[in-house]
Symmetry: C2
């Protein structure tokens, strides 16, 4: 075997998604990219806000003596301080730079956390549907991914969670607003989750950590709010990125923040710093650290996402699709009218519509629409959605 | 246990290096940073070349529609093409963008390669002394690090290498110009290494890969050249970064390149792409990819490094130190006059000189001086070096 068995298996397993993308590419080549309605990727189409470009130009102007050198692996102190200040307001809990580590995006932060906390065989529990890359991040560090169902509106099912937690559970991983459902977990459910984790930690005489993956925190609608997770449970680690806030997913800039009252704060923080270094990230990209320090709290204009969401919600309702109106993120996760979501997605492809089967998120019987796209492609795609649904009505 | 056992052990093991750095920090606090001669870190002090700032300003100006979005995980095709073109000339072997993946520095690239190739228990062999972070990178992916000695001038000892290779060997990892010795491996020794790996691959009926870590390739003196590694062995992967070439180690930009004639090229390349994604790097930072594409071949002015090297070589010779004049990189690796290099380094600290014990690189009885520093601190430190040596003469 030339490549590692795990990698070889992963390459085979992901083949159904790859085939789907290949089919999408084929359709674009055949019909012209502008005639294919691609809602398959969560690649934000908004431009970064004007403040970002201004900050970037400034940072480029300031380039010189030491601005691209190594800094402490955990990030520039002044950047971590700026992040901590903003986070303190957002979370309603006083956070300092000594609880913040700058990372190569949320994906980098998750790998750092898992590497630091998981011994081989330790379990990470995540509600489904979920961002399936989590499987890889957990397996990278010899952990075991375990999923639990949610309620039909994609809210947390605490009974299911309670039943799933065992003595092997080291981490509960949540993602709110959620990819792929767009659901936001309520303060009540998070408080209840916090109490549950406290009880279970006592029961098993260990600390069960809550990892809150929050890259969509600022992408919300209708005056919804994303509750402070630090207020619900003190053994919490927030991981996030600026990818969606300011539309810069290619720049790999994010951070992790440890609850200031976490019991083993010192050793955890030291472990995170070490893992960030030895996993080969070394540090989050220097220039982008400088940029985001200048624009804390800035985010993309939500007008277009709001319009897109409305267009899809009205159009799909009209076509007879069933779905929960998502309070956050830029995804819709409607029910497929047949059980086999992969087959249904193939039907949509015939109308030149590209979406991802729910099975790809541990949510079979559904499909995911990413509406971080241009308005016209939504409008033009709606007849296709309607036509395919009509086959099953 | 709150953190993983491996992490806990690593934190303890690295405590002697940490203590040394803490002692350095204490000395700086006590005597003023400007009065402490810090040669402990390979953090290039040169400013990036003027072309870098120009390219950065341009890239910042071009910021807009999609320039910070996700691109293919392996990097922008036009960037990989620019890199491949330069690499083709450098290596004397025609490389295309289909053999190049942009990475978060050389550390990111090494983790991608190890993740992709190593099954648990597979061995990676590296000549000593070596960059000890390699241990972590190999262990991250459940591999086993094995070291082999070199000749007294730090050139490759091929007999030792031949004796070390077993059926468990999956990768031989070399670093030329070397950190910490500054040695460059000759074309003859690399050709011989290539032949050895071909034989051993046949003997064990598998492919043994050569991974060549080359971040110091452009930091060379006295008209020395770093031979093309692709010319010596076809089952080779080059990993490198722009950190030292253009003094931007904080930006995490580098690449890996697979030999165009590697037997299992397709599956390896697919594996590297997958690993780059699932390790959480996702892609190399977008903006820096755009920047380096504009300045292929540009490098820092070597004048200061040359001056520093000369100052140290003359000063240390005068003081009675023994060392091989390093043809590359910005390190000197002199012999300590006593066996216990840690004790010797502690003596130098009394003269406010900070260097790293050779034990920290698997090269006991030596110490490493990083001369990527300002000239004055070298001149001012030389009496201290002389005074300490005099105690042992």
């Amino acid at each position: 075997m030339t490549v590692a068995k795990k990698i070889s298996t992963s390459m085979e397993k992901s083949s159904f998604i790859r085939k789907m993308f290949e089919e999408g590419a084929r359709l674009k080549a055949e019909h012209g990219a502008e005639n294919v309605f691609d809602f398959s990727l969560g690649n934000p189409n908004m431009n970064p806000p004007a403040e970002f470009k201004k900050a970037l130009m400034e940072a480029a102007e300031e380039s010189g003596e030491g601005t691209h050198s190594y800094m402490p692996n955990i990030g520039y102190p002044f950047v971590r301080q700026a992040v901590a200040e903003f986070l303190s307001t957002e979370q309603g809990v006083e956070v300092t730079e000594n609880e913040v580590i700058m990372t190569c995006g949320a994906a980098g932060a998750l790998n750092v956390v898992f590497k630091t906390i998981l011994d081989p065989g330790d379990e990470v529990i995540s509600p489904t549907p979920y961002f399936v890359e989590y499987n890889f991040y957990v397996e990278n560090h010899n952990g075991v991914m375990k999923t639990v169902p949610v309620n039909s509106d994609f809210s947390l099912d605490l009974n299911a969670m309670a039943a799933a937690i065992t003595e092997k559970t080291k981490i509960v991983l949540i993602n709110s607003p959620n990819n792929p459902t767009g659901q936001i977990y309520s303060k009540e459910s998070l408080d209840a989750l916090g109490r549950l984790l406290e009880e279970k930690s006592k029961e098993f005489n260990k600390t069960i950590y809550l990892v809150s993956d929050e890259p969509y925190r600022k992408i919300i609608y209708d005056g919804n709010i994303v509750p402070s997770i630090f207020s619900s449970y003190k053994e919490t680690i927030i991981v996030t990125s600026y990818s969606k806030d300011i539309s810069v997913p290619g720049e790999r800039i994010g951070f992790l923040a440890l609850h200031p009252s976490a019991e083993h704060k010192q050793i955890l923080f030291g472990g995170f710093a070490l893992s960030n270094r030895i996993l080969g990230y070394v540090n989050a990209p220097a220039l982008m650290q400088r940029v985001i320090a200048k624009i804390q709290g800035v985010q993309v204009d939500m007008t277009q996402y709001e319009k897109n969401r409305k267009l899809f919600c009205e159009g799909l309702t009209d076509a007879g699709y069933e779905f929960t109106i998502p309070p956050g993120a830029f995804y819709l996760f409607p029910k497929a009218p047949i059980e086999d979501d992969v087959a249904f997605v193939a039907e949509l492809q015939k109308e030149l519509i590209l979406v991802v089967p729910g099975s790809g998120f541990g949510g079979p019987g559904h499909f995911r629409i990413a509406y971080c796209c241009d308005e016209q492609s939504i409008i033009k795609s709606l007849p296709g959605f309607k036509k395919v649904m009509a086959k099953y009505k």
